[in-house]
């Protein structure tokens, strides 16, 4: 399809002659957060994938703009009856940017490295089900599992599962070498990173010959960079309160999409009063989600009722499960033994969405007699230390960025302290089910359990506030996986 479009474009340009203005073939894309290193297989920050995933690195599978799994470096696959043996047929004639060939040996190396003892892969648990990887011939990869893993193909499409070469794996952090349509060119830390088109790419050549990522954290600086044309696009603009001013301007396209970032106010279920489900439900009843979206996000964002986003396959809208009902909340609190409410602290990261949401939350909980004391907590360092690792908190608020990460509630040591064997069992079954429909039904069941038990107050999914030059085409509207996939991006005449 895009080859056809390319051929058509060629004909049109050819006919109209050299006098016609050539569309630009470079892009400057703004990001609020600079990646910490460029290797998504050794560190978690989403900004890494937003630069390199699909552009520099590719996986055996990929996740498309609708969140669906598609073949990539694996052309096709077969799954054994019992769901334990995956046989992949790998694409031929693929090479890494440094000339090394991609074959089953590099695929085996990548998977063994990710699941190995010394692995620091942030999603190592995805590979836990893999029992062995074999490469019988260069284009065949056989992955044997110790138990069925219904999400394996999806996980193989994640940034953390991209294919790397043994010869360049060690230096990918600063000099990434992948099989993607763009090769790494230059990184001026703190300022910009440049990718250029890779001429030896196996697939359709991208329309862009060069892409520059610029890192601008300050919202006002983002605005002036867009206005002055220094930046062509901000796929994830940082300040909802300034967004409306771009919606009315003709030279910009503004698209409000979904991300995978679920903003939830987690409670410490290990200690009172949050170990009482009635208390957690009462707090949820006291929350008007739309008011949080309006007050903290200038109206951008979509309320959620569980740890799942509308992007995700198998999403169930559960915002009605516990609806806004302050009267009922007070009654339930009294029933739980807190007729006069209680006082608790909430550890709040410095990010705007968290700070503002917690202030609205504070006001709403005050209505039912619950006094929240906001404790600013530096994210990620202090938050990870206090909340995630030491569970030293009453309540907290944070956006969970990983797609389809509902399984965190099944982890025994996770910070919510959610203890529900039925939930753990449901997640286990879902992960072992290879039939999509049956699996999504199980994830639906898991969503309902969370909506009922409220280990965290489910608030809203963060919007993807895209702003770009109206002549740009092909940027993703939603973000089913943290990325700025540039393969289909082009300039309109």
């Amino acid at each position: 399809m895009s080859a056809l479009a390319g051929a058509l474009a060629f004909v049109v340009i050819g006919v109209s002659g050299p006098a016609a203005a050539q569309p630009r073939d470079d892009i400057v894309l703004g990001m609020a957060i600079e990646p910490a290193g460029l290797d998504p297989t050794i560190a978690a920050p989403v900004a890494i994938g937003q630069v390199v995933w699909q552009n520099v690195f590719e996986g055996l599978t990929r996740i498309d703009r609708d969140g669906a799994v598609q073949p990539q470096l694996a052309e096709s696959w077969t799954i054994s009856e019992d769901g334990r043996v995956y046989t992949f047929t790998l694409r031929q004639g693929v090479s890494f940017h440094d000339g090394a060939a991609f074959d089953s040996a590099s695929a085996k190396f990548s998977l063994d490295r990710a699941r190995g003892e010394a692995s620091t892969n942030p999603q190592k648990q995805f590979f836990a089900a893999i029992d062995g990887v074999e490469a019988p011939d260069p284009s065949t990869l056989v992955v044997t599992l110790s138990r069925p893993a219904g999400n394996l193909l999806y996980w193989l499409g994640w940034p953390a599962a991209v294919m790397v070469d043994e010869g360049s794996a060690e230096t990918n952090r600063s000099q990434p070498v992948g099989t993607g349509p763009f090769r790494f060119s230059e990184w001026r830390q703190g300022d910009r990173l440049t990718l250029t088109r890779f001429d030896g790419y196996w697939g359709d050549s991208p329309a862009l010959s060069q892409a520059t990522f610029r890192f601008i954290s300050d919202a006002q600086a983002q605005v002036s960079a867009l206005q002055s044309g220094q930046v062509d696009a901000f796929p994830e603009f940082g300040a909802p309160e300034l967004y409306a001013s771009f919606e009315v301007r003709e030279e910009f396209e503004t698209v409000v999409g979904h991300t995978e970032l679920k903003v939830v106010a987690g409670m410490n279920g290990r200690k009172p009063p949050f170990d009482d489900v009635r208390v957690r439900r009462a707090l949820m009843m006291a929350v008007d989600r739309q008011m949080i979206v309006d007050g903290a996000q200038s109206g951008y964002g979509e309320p959620i009722g569980s740890h799942y986003t509308p992007n995700d396959p198998g999403f169930v809208d559960l915002t009605g499960e516990i609806a806004y009902d302050p009267e009922g909340a007070r009654a339930l609190l009294a029933e739980a033994g807190y007729p006069d409410g209680f006082t608790a602290t909430i550890k709040v990261p410095q990010m705007n969405y968290a700070r503002r949401s917690s202030e609205v939350l504070q006001a709403m909980l005050a209505e039912i007699g619950v006094t929240l004391q906001i404790v600013p907590t530096e994210f990620p360092a202090a938050w990870v230390d206090q909340v995630l690792q030491r569970h030293d908190f009453d309540m907290t608020i944070v956006a969970h960025a990983e797609p389809l990460d509902i399984a965190i509630y099944a982890r025994e040591d996770y910070y919510f302290g959610y203890d529900n064997p039925a939930f753990v069992e449901t997640i286990r079954k879902a992960e072992e089910t290879t039939d999509d429909e049956a699996r999504f039904a199980l994830y639906g069941k898991a969503q309902r359990m969370l909506a009922k038990d409220v280990p965290a107050l489910y608030l809203f999914v963060m919007p993807k506030l895209g702003i770009w030059n109206e002549k740009l085409e092909g940027l993703w509207e939603n973000e089913p996986i943290p990325s700025n996939d540039l393969t289909d991006v082009s300039w309109r005449e």
Binding site: A44, T120, R173, Q189, I216, A221, S228, Q230, V384, D405
Partner: protein, 322 residues
């Protein structure tokens, strides 16, 4: 005292000061390292994020060398400092020395430009105000000084951005093209941030210089000079100003640490890849390899500048030498 003895005591004085400088820097390394140890947060945990598992965390800590005892890591840092190896950034995965050099190429010209600007604004204003004490000019200069001290530099930066990005777009209002893009594009990117940094400093310097000038104008030697027929203007510029420079230089030295602190916000507002921004990022990421060297660098600047200010007293005021 003979000429030679004076020279010898000067050398001893310099040597003493220099030894003090090195000892202070050494003490700073210990303090910086200790602070890093008590700072909550673990670089490995930051890198692995919210889904970190115990086994990957342990593997990453080992890879980054964080599992070694603190004393060993401190020793390795000091040894590296002596040999010029500042280590590798845990987040970026590149040598710290190169990172810092890139940032200095932005921050040093920025700070230099800010100092020049602040002197170029404050000295003429101070002379004008002191020359006509109580006049409208004096009142105007006082107002400027008041406002300049009160306004934070990042806010001045925001105003400059708003004005130059929309109303009068003759100067770049953010970003840095790099020195290889050419002297003019690079230097013009530094103008607005330098103004934002310089204004509060110029305000303080104006105040200090004005009152120092007024003090000096009361001195006998000015009266003698005036009695000999030197113009008021000449007396101000040639005789009073050099004598008023000592407090100005002292304040300038003290201000340098504020300049560095202010640079963090200003670099952020203008999206400049400078040292301030590097320090902030390293702190957020708990990139200790970068952070300890950057903090040491900032401390060294303040210490060395104070040392130079001391030396400048010797140059400006012969009485100190006695």
């Amino acid at each position: 005292m003979s000429e030679r003895e004076a020279g010898g005591s000067l050398a001893r004085l310099l040597l003493g000061r220099f030894t003090g400088l090195v000892a202070t820097l050494f003490a700073v390394t210990a303090v910086v390292f200790l602070v890093m140890q008590v700072l909550p947060g673990d670089p490995a945990a930051v890198m692995l994020g919210t889904s970190a598992q115990p086994d990957t965390l342990a593997a990453l800590r080992a890879e980054l060398g964080l599992d070694r005892p603190a004393v060993m890591r401190y020793g390795a840092w000091l040894a590296g400092l002596v040999t010029g190896d500042l280590g590798t950034s845990t987040t970026y995965g590149v040598p710290v020395a190169g990172l810092m050099a890139d940032r200095l190429a932005v921050t040093l010209p920025l700070a230099g430009l800010a100092i020049l600007l602040s002197l170029a604004v404050s000295l003429p204003l101070a002379v004008a105000a002191a020359g006509r004490r109580g006049s409208l000019v004096d009142a105007g200069v006082s107002l400027f000084a008041q406002a300049g001290v009160a306004l934070p530099n990042f806010w001045i930066g925001l105003l400059l951005i708003l004005f130059f990005a929309t109303v009068w777009p003759i100067l770049p209002s953010g970003g840095f093209p790099g020195w290889d893009a050419g002297l003019l594009p690079a230097a013009s990117a530094l103008v607005l941030p330098a103004i934002a940094l310089a204004l509060p400093q110029a305000a303080i310097l104006t105040r200090v210089a004005r009152s120092a000038l007024l003090d000096t104008l009361q001195e006998d030697f000015i009266r003698s000079a005036r009695a000999k027929g030197i113009s008021r203007r000449r007396a101000l510029w040639r005789h009073a100003l050099p004598n008023a420079l000592i407090p100005v230089v002292t304040i300038l030295g003290l201000q340098l640490s504020f300049l560095v602190a202010g640079a963090i916000l200003v670099e952020n507002v203008f999206a400049l890849p400078g040292m301030g921004q590097l320090a902030y990022q390293a702190l957020m990421q708990r990139d200790f390899a970068v952070l300890q060297n950057v903090v040491l660098f900032f401390a060294a600047i303040v210490i060395v500048v104070n040392f130079l200010v001391d030396l400048s007293y010797l140059a400006f005021d012969p009485r100190v030498r006695a």
